[in-house]
Structures are given as structure tokens and as C-alpha cells.
């Protein structure tokens, strides 16, 4: 019998994951090349959400830029604004009052709590555990309320201004915040225990997407992905900006390096943030005015440059601001944590199954709008592609 048909099966199957909502509801395209179920290569395509914030900052005045910086990312807006405002303070040589410093820390830590709760909820959803997603989101609402009490809006705080904050709190607000923190802490402890013990979560996350500490620093990962791999990077501890030098806290580091470790780092950090927020509320300095009169702030910015780092919920956030003495900044360079984590982090997917991929992506805590204020494209994989022939052969005849 002669051969009449040859069926060729492609060795590597290309599967687009995204650009519509690969994990979070944000646009990002992961081009996955899979050999059977095994991922052999991932190309990360970005550019669906580019807004050109850096150019926009060059076209606006310094004070308008504070609010533009806050809108780079919705979830971590106070950290963005804080980092930019501190850069301006370095240029102007101003120092906020102690009370303002404490309040800034409070706003940023509340933000960290709700950001970490959000990503853990999304992780639960990705794992098919929708009830847990609903429950965490319900309890996250309490933190949003706390932020509303403190800053005047649930999400976009617009809380930072040069040499201070834009609102102060009184005793009643302080007591309400404290009681919210008590409730939130109980829930976070419960969820942490759940993530630690639940069989489904453990099966889906343990030993998935393992990153070694060497790789984490080589690929410049920051934030919980780095700390989950045993690398201690925390701009709060090293730069000691604002009131972080006075507030006691621990830097959470885990050795495992898998997706589960990254999520646990987040829960532990959320607990740490609760106790920091409580410390701030109990030790709030009373002697100084936290809210500067925005009508009297300096209008002229001297020439100078500065590079500030802040620890956003997703990792190290950096702002480089160059002023040439004009009313507008000469250059603003924003490097968000997701920018490093997502674009460089493609190597961690290799060798795991397609079903693991969303779980690994979520464990990086991607924030696409953060990442794409400046684009990037890239084809990842400096490692050797290990395409195994597996058992696929040319069919048709034995």
C-alpha cells in the first residue's frame, strides 16, 4: 500500500492568551508556544494600553503632573503620587511635617492592604474558586471605606501634595479607621490561613512557577516576586522615606519561590500593613500642621535632578525627574514594578502547563496600565528552548 496522505502535526502549538483579559481584566497578549500541554516559550506582546504619560508629564506643569502621576495606575495611585511628590520635594529642598509623613504612610499602607487583597481575590477566581473571590472582595470594601474616610475618595486618593498631604483626620475619623482595621485584620488572618491550608489552592500554586533567587535578580524582578524568592528588596526599609524610619515593620521574605510563596508574602505584608497603620493612628504626631496651603506653595522649581524609589504594592517604583528651571519638567522617567516583572518574567512560565500559566501571571500581580505608560514589546527567552519531540511524529504510515 502506497502512502497517500501525510498528516503533519506542528511541533509547537501557538496559543494566544489575551489580549482580552488574560487573567486580570486588562489587555495583555501572551503568545504561548506549547508542546502538548507544556509551555516552551512565551512572547509577551504589549502596547494595547499605551497612554504616553511620560510625554504628557513633559507637557504639563509640575503641579499638574502630581495628579497625572496619580493616574498612571488606579490601584497604586497614592504611591505614584507620593514618589513623584518626593522627587519634587528633593528638587525644592522641602521637608513635609512629621504629621504629614505619618499620614502619607497611612494612605500608602491602606492602599497596600487593598491591593494585596485584590490580587489574592483574583488569584482565587483564576483558580476557579469564585466564592472566595466574592468574599475577599466584600471584605476589601472595608479598606476602600477606610481610604474614603482618610482621603475623600475610594480609589483615586489625590492625597499627596508638595510638603504635606491634602486632608487631615480628626479623632472621630481616627476611631473609625481603627475599628475598620480591627475587622480587616481578623478577615486577613482567616484568608491567610485558608491560603495556607486549603487543598485546592495548595495543589494549584505549590511548586508552580518556581523562580530561583539568582534568576530573580538577573531578570530584575522586584516586589513580592523577588521577596517570594528570598531576595530582600524593600525600598521602605532601605530608603526610609517619609515616616518609614520611625514605624517598626518587618520585611517579609520567603524562600520557596513558587506562586504560592508570592501570594503568602502578600498576605503577610497585608497583616504587616495593618499593624503599621494602627501604629500610625496611635502615634500620630499632633504638634504640626499636615496640610499646607496650596496657594502658597513655591511656584518656581530650581534646576536639578532626582531619582526616588518607593515600595508600591507590586514592588519597587522609581521616578526620575529632571528640572531645568522652567515651569515644566524636562524629563520624567517612570519605571513601574510591573514593567520589570511582566516583561522580564516570561522565563518563569517555561516548563509548566498551559493551565498553570494564568496562575503564574496573576502571582506576578500584573498591572498593565502601570506597565504601559511606556510601551515595550519583546520576545522573551534567553534560555535555550527545549523543544522535546515527545511522541509527535509524522502520521499516515507506520
Amino acid at each position: 500500500m502506497t502512502v497517500t496522505k501525510i498528516v503533519e502535526i506542528p511541533l509547537v502549538l501557538e496559543i494566544p492568551i489575551g489580549p482580552q483579559h488574560p487573567a486580570l481584566h486588562e489587555p495583555l497578549l501572551l503568545k504561548v508556544y506549547a508542546d502538548g500541554e507544556e509551555v516552551v516559550r512565551v512572547d509577551i506582546n504589549t502596547g494595547y494600553n499605551h497612554r504616553g504619560v511620560e510625554k504628557l508629564c513633559e507637557k504639563n506643569t509640575f503641579y499638574r503632573d502630581i495628579f497625572i502621576a496619580g493616574r498612571v495606575c488606579g490601584i497604586c495611585n497614592t504611591v505614584h503620587a507620593n514618589c513623584f511628590v518626593r522627587a519634587l520635594e528633593r528638587i525644592l529642598d522641602l521637608e513635609p511635617s512629621p504629621r504629614a509623613k505619618y499620614l502619607r504612610v497611612l494612605a500608602m499602607e491602606l492602599e497596600r492592604i487593598h491591593s494585596h487583597m485584590l490580587i489574592n481575590a483574583v488569584m482565587a477566581e483564576i483558580l476557579g474558586f469564585d466564592t472566595l473571590f466574592m468574599l475577599i472582595m466584600r471584605d476589601r470594601e472595608m479598606v476602600m471605606k477606610a481610604k474614603e474616610i482618610l482621603t475623600g475618595n475610594r480609589v483615586l486618593a489625590d492625597y499627596m501634595i508638595v510638603s504635606g498631604v491634602r486632608r487631615d483626620i480628626d479623632e472621630t475619623k481616627r476611631d473609625r479607621l481603627l475599628s475598620i482595621l480591627d475587622k480587616v485584620e481578623k478577615r486577613i488572618k482567616y484568608y491567610r490561613k485558608l491560603f495556607e491550608e486549603d487543598a485546592t489552592i495548595n495543589l494549584r500554586l505549590r511548586d508552580v512557577g518556581v523562580i530561583k533567587d539568582v534568576d530573580a535578580s538577573r531578570y530584575a524582578l522586584v516586589g513580592p516576586p523577588a521577596r517570594g524568592s528570598g531576595i530582600k528588596i524593600d525600598a521602605r526599609a532601605s530608603d526610609k522615606y517619609d515616616a518609614y524610619d520611625e514605624i517598626p515593620f518587618n520585611v517579609i521574605v520567603r524562600k520557596e519561590g513558587d506562586s504560592w510563596a508570592r501570594m503568602m508574602v502578600r498576605w503577610d505584608e497585608a497583616l504587616e500593613s495593618v499593624s503599621m497603620s494602627r501604629y500610625v493612628l496611635e502615634h500620630l504626631p499632633r504638634d504640626s500642621n499636615a496640610v499646607p496651603d496650596e496657594r502658597r506653595l513655591p511656584r518656581r522649581f530650581p534646576p536639578g535632578e532626582t531619582f526616588t524609589r518607593a515600595e508600591a504594592p507590586r514592588g519597587e517604583l522609581t521616578y526620575y525627574v529632571l528640572s531645568d528651571g522652567k515651569p515644566k519638567p524636562y524629563r520624567v522617567k517612570i519605571r513601574t514594578p510591573s514593567f520589570n516583572n511582566i516583561i522580564n518574567g516570561g522565563f518563569a512560565y517555561i516548563g509548566y502547563t498551559i493551565a498553570d500559566l494564568p496562575a503564574i501571571l496573576v502571582s506576578y500581580d500584573p498591572c498593565i496600565s502601570c506597565m504601559e505608560r511606556a510601551i515595550v514589546i519583546d520576545l522573551r527567552n534567553n534560555k535555550k528552548m527545549y523543544v522535546s519531540l515527545k511522541d509527535l511524529v509524522v502520521g499516515g504510515r507506520k
Binding site: Y219, V222, I233, T306, E316, Y320, A374, V376
Partner: protein, 153 residues
């Protein structure tokens, strides 16, 4: 600018390549290096410090049309004390080319791709560089690098 800070003793291996050092607020040390030696400097970083003792935080390019240069800053964070070191180099604006360091530090990839896309700094040896993944493709078709000061976007 404050007086020239001295290099931390751990970074002594860099001293042959340093043109000058100065500091930037708050507490960052800038090391100016000839663009020829950037690759060599990072090779030394890898050799002497090794992973996981440093990482590349970001690469920032700035356009100076008056001086006809493009400045490229590599922000390196040295662990465990997390000190930020800036490796600064200047490139001619007409032909901004520099050796890519992704073969040594793959983490520089995001920064290199971004700098190429926004400022047109060509990193030789980085095969992942690509235009058009940029903002809208119509901007790319015009051959504009949006963060150059003379470009109108």
C-alpha cells in the same frame, strides 16, 4: 551638586573606567563611564558582585538636542544594602549606539526595548529590539521617537 563622593569600597573594581563621580539627591552616586566601556563595566559587576547581589532597576534615556547628545543612565541597585548606583553615559544624538548588556543582565531587556522605542537608542546585540510596538503604529510609520524633544506627537 555636593562634593564628589567616593566610590563604595565594594565597587573599587570600577575605578579604571570611571570618568567622574558625583551624587544626586537623595543619596545616589552617579558614575560617568565612556559608552565604550558600559558592557565591560557590567561584566565586572557580574564577575565581582555576582547574582543575586545586584539588579538593574531601570534604564533612563534623556534627549539633549542642544548638546547634541542622548544621555543613558543605568540604575543599578546593589544588594543587600540596596544602594542605588547610576552608570551614566553620553551618546551622540545622530547615531546613538551602545552595546547591549542583555547577554550579561537579561533584566535590562525591558529597559533597552523601551529606550529604543522611545528615544531610538540602538542597543547592539539585542535581537529583541523592535519598533512599532510602540504607541499607535502611525507614529512609528513616520519614524518618530516620541521622547525626543523635537518630535511632535
Amino acid at each position: 551638586m555636593a562634593t564628589a563622593p567616593s566610590l563604595p569600597s565594594r565597587l573599587d573594581f570600577l575605578k579604571d573606567y570611571v570618568l567622574k563621580t558625583y551624587s544626586m539627591k537623595p543619596n545616589r552616586i552617579i558614575i560617568e563611564v565612556d559608552s565604550k566601556y558600559v558592557h565591560k563595566v557590567f561584566e565586572l559587576f557580574k564577575e565581582r558582585l555576582g547574582f543575586p547581589n545586584f539588579y538593574i532597576s531601570t534604564i533612563a534615556g534623556t534627549d539633549f538636542p542642544k548638546e547634541n547628545t542622548i544621555r543613558v543612565d543605568y540604575y543599578v541597585v546593589v544588594l543587600p544594602e540596596e544602594q542605588t548606583i547610576v552608570i551614566r553615559t553620553y551618546l551622540p544624538r545622530d547615531e546613538p549606539k551602545i552595546a547591549s548588556i542583555i547577554d550579561i543582565v537579561p533584566g535590562a531587556l525591558a529597559g533597552e526595548c523601551e529606550t529604543y522605542d522611545l528615544l531610538g537608542v540602538y542597543f547592539e546585540g539585542n535581537r529583541f529590539l523592535k519598533r512599532a510596538f510602540f504607541v499607535p503604529t502611525d507614529v512609528v510609520e513616520k519614524g518618530i521617537f516620541p521622547l525626543r524633544k523635537d518630535s511632535k506627537v
